[in-house]
């Protein structure tokens, strides 16, 4: 990682939608249990580290789960701060011109890391909600898959920028 800035161009409409999703994601992370979370989407973010050893898996979970979820909350808060810097709290959803205007978000290396992890995690949560179990699972008529694809498009763009492609 260098001190290079990655520039993200995003419409305000996207920024508003993304902020909504990340806020919902952050709400999901308030779970404080040390046991496997009941919500399968949350459980996917903190998977068992031992496939055949329940005791070792539990011990690992007790040592890591809270830290992992706390870190995700911090990541989400960083992403929200970037988004709020361009979407603004006063944006009215009826104002078409303002919504389609392109905003620039500059991401330093640390902030970019927060974005990458958050977008990847958001897709995992959405995939769990959508019941995606293999790569062929896609319903073009379900608008939620559109959101899932859009997050993938944004994540891929940021990965390419991070890799310097």
């Amino acid at each position: 990682m260098t001190d290079r800035l990655v520039v993200l161009e995003i419409t305000r409409m996207e920024a508003v939608h993304l902020a909504g999703l990340v806020t919902q994601f952050a709400d999901l992370l308030t779970e404080t249990t040390d046991a496997t979370p009941d919500d399968p989407a949350l459980a996917r973010l903190v998977p068992d580290a031992y496939a055949d050893d329940a005791d070792a898996a539990r011990e690992f979970r007790e040592l890591t789960q809270r830290d992992l979820l706390d870190r995700r909350s911090t990541d989400a808060a960083t992403v929200l701060a970037s988004l709020h810097s361009v979407s603004g709290p006063t944006l009215v959803t009826g104002d078409e011109e303002a919504l389609t205007k392109i905003a620039i978000i500059e991401l330093d290396a640390d902030t970019l890391g927060c974005w990458l992890r958050t977008l990847a995690a958001l897709r995992l949560v959405l995939a769990s909600r959508l019941g995606i179990v293999d790569e062929a699972d896609h319903d073009d008529t379900d608008p939620r898959f559109g959101i899932y694809d859009w997050l993938g498009y944004r994540l891929d763009g940021l990965v390419r920028a991070a890799e310097g492609d």
């Binding site: 996917r44 580290a49 995690a121 994540l155 990965v159 890799e163």
Partner: protein, 100 residues
């Protein structure tokens, strides 16, 4: 058993046990999932492990095509650190003892 009767004997036995435990080789395994992007997985392998691009791509393809890949081998604690880091990125990783 004469070992338990004296302290030197006991400590020697503990030392032997510790040595044999350390010599066991553990692995961090990354599993395929239908969600994480190939480009993202390559990025994670490069950023976290510092792998050159071709190695990162080879491992990503192994995960994708064979369902899993061993990304690291060594002491158990180290493999757990790697698994934790992979979870932090959203990858599905487990720790196991290396098959004999």
């Amino acid at each position: 058993m004469m070992v338990a009767a004296t302290i030197p004997g006991t400590s020697e036995r503990i030392e032997l046990d510790t040595t044999s435990d350390i010599s066991r080789v553990w692995q961090t395994v990354v599993w395929n999932d239908p969600v994480n992007l190939m480009s993202y997985v390559v990025h994670v392998f490069r950023e976290y492990f510092g792998f050159p691009r071709d190695k990162a791509e080879r491992l990503m393809l192994a995960v994708h095509q064979e369902g899993r890949a061993v990304v690291a081998q060594g002491a158990r604690e180290q493999m757990e650190l790697h698994a934790r880091a992979m979870h932090d990125y959203g990858l599905w990783a487990t720790v196991r003892e290396a098959p004999q």
